[in-house]
């Protein structure tokens, strides 16, 4: 029998178990806690109330049975929650975190902006089939939503082509796949993962095919969906008119900002006197235009958020999820991010080493937009 570390060296090592993904992952997490290899686990967990869930930091191995590994919902963006745990100080002891690819990317971005740290994190990710909006899982027939969940997956996920973790994951559990299987299959990416795998008795190591090859078909579908999303975002059909129509529904709750893992300013620019219009100005604008919406600045706020976030937006869909009036915020951001990130030649969440895009420049760049 080949050893687990050996298969790791082959590059495509996987662990296989007959158990379900849920049972396999709980088994691994328990093992990690009991053997002291990690101090706690960060994952979505069910709460006492039937059908409710939340992210938790779990230190008691007895509670691992409450973990819902890759339950198809994102209660909050994982990067946002992890940022709370790692901004003022880094983790002192290892923590195993179950994160979706876009949560990893968002966390890498926030860490680059000194709003978190990956130190001591052991990341278990998945090939991600997407999630459904939390509100639908909570408000509608849960069994139906879960059993037909492909129907409920949010727009951002349907159009997500980064659903396989590129870097920073130690292990990847196969969930979305072209090759359905009853087994739980886990790819090992790092030495740490190999060492942990060697201590797991109920898994057998195998040399698998490259991870990306297992999702090539799904990737094509997602790519087509993404192209459609980029071409059809409702906000762009008629330019200003569409923009105004869309945001005429905005109730100014700023939920999109609170939910976004990259909007982390303690005091948002758009809450300060600097950006707020004075009563005098609002009166003058009302006179000049005939009328003016109050509170003012809804679109101004959204343009500002686009300016600040589009270079790093990871298209996670969380802002659309929380919008109480169903404005397709994340579609709008994804479209802007696509143009901005191509122009700046920047891929958010890819590497911790390159500078955040707005803190750097290249001397002879962007000459076609200036004169």
């Amino acid at each position: 029998m080949i050893s687990k570390t050996e298969t790791l060296n082959s590059g495509n090592s996987i662990l296989v178990s007959d158990e379900s993904v849920q049972d396999s992952l709980r088994r691994i997490l328990k093992h990690l806690l009991v053997t002291g290899q990690v101090d706690s686990v960060f994952a979505v967990r069910r709460t006492k109330q039937e059908g409710r869930f939340c992210y938790s930091l779990i230190s008691d191995h007895e509670l691992i049975d409450e973990v819902l590994p890759f339950y198809p919902v994102m209660p909050v963006q994982g990067a946002k929650a992890l940022s709370e745990l790692t901004t003022t100080e880094t983790l002192h002891k290892p923590v195993a975190a179950l994160l979706r690819p876009c949560e990893i990317r968002a966390f890498v971005e926030t860490s680059k902006q000194s709003q978190g740290s990956l130190d001591n994190l052991f990341i278990i990710s998945c090939t991600c089939p997407g999630v459904v909006p939390a509100s639908r899982l909570l408000m509608e027939d849960r069994k139906k939503v879960l059993s037909e969940y492909g129907e409920y997956i949010r727009n951002a996920c349907r159009a997500c082509t980064d659903f396989v973790p590129e870097a920073h994951a130690d292990m990847t559990v196969v969930i979305a796949s072209d090759i359905p299987s009853e087994n739980c299959r886990i790819f090992l990416h790092t030495e740490k993962a190999g060492i942990i795998a060697d201590g797991l008795s109920s898994f057998t190591p195998e040399a698998g095919i490259p991870l990306k090859e297992t999702v090539a078909g799904l990737f094509k579908i997602r790519q087509q969906n993404r192209e459609n999303l980029l071409a059809e975002t409702p906000a762009v059909k008629d330019g200003l008119d569409s923009l105004i129509n869309l945001f005429s529904a905005c109730i100014n709750c700023r939920g999109c900002r609170e939910a976004c893992p990259l909007c982390h300013c303690v005091l948002c620019d758009y809450e300060t006197a600097r950006t707020q219009h004075s009563p005098e100005l609002i009166r003058a604008e009302a006179k000049r235009r005939g009328a003016i919406r109050v509170p003012s600045g809804t679109i101004q706020f959204q343009l500002g958020r686009l300016m600040h976030i589009s270079p790093s937006c990871v298209s996670c869909g969380q802002c659309s999820d929380v919008c109480p009036v169903d404005i397709p915020v994340s579609d709008i951001f994804t479209r802007a991010a696509n143009l901005v990130q191509t122009t700046l030649n920047y891929e958010p969440g890819k590497s911790l080493d390159d500078d955040p895009p707005m803190s750097t420049y290249i001397e002879h760049e962007l000459q076609d937009i200036t004169d």
């Binding site: 105004i244 235009r289 343009l303 500002g304 300016m307 802007a336 143009l339 901005v340 200036t370």
Partner: protein, 140 residues
Amino acid sequence: MDDFEPRIIGFLCNWCSYAGADLAGTSRLEMPPNLVPIKVMCSSRVDPEMITDAFLRGADGVLIAGCHPGDCHYDKGNYYARRRFAVLKKVVESLGLEADRLRLSWISASEGPRFRQVVEEFTEKIREIGPNPAGKETLL
């Protein structure tokens, strides 16, 4: 529209473009009166928020003018300004808004004639595009 006179906001860097504008003035170069100059200490002082605010309040065009790359008084300010401008342009473009209403030009203190040329060209461009519809909207 025949009687359309573009209103253009110009954020001019104190160390170069503002001086360039001054030189154009003292050299008595004739140019369109459509640009309202606002002096800033560096092109990087222009928060994109100032531009979107001007745009939503009905400015027909916004010009940012700063020192040529390599000549910024604060060394690198204009390189950062250029990145922010790129983001703004692309965001505006992604929303299907008229990105041509925004311009970033490098004009040094000695380039009075170039200042005139930029103002002339930009005013003409804006005249072609027409009035900014955002100036009449009641819901922004």
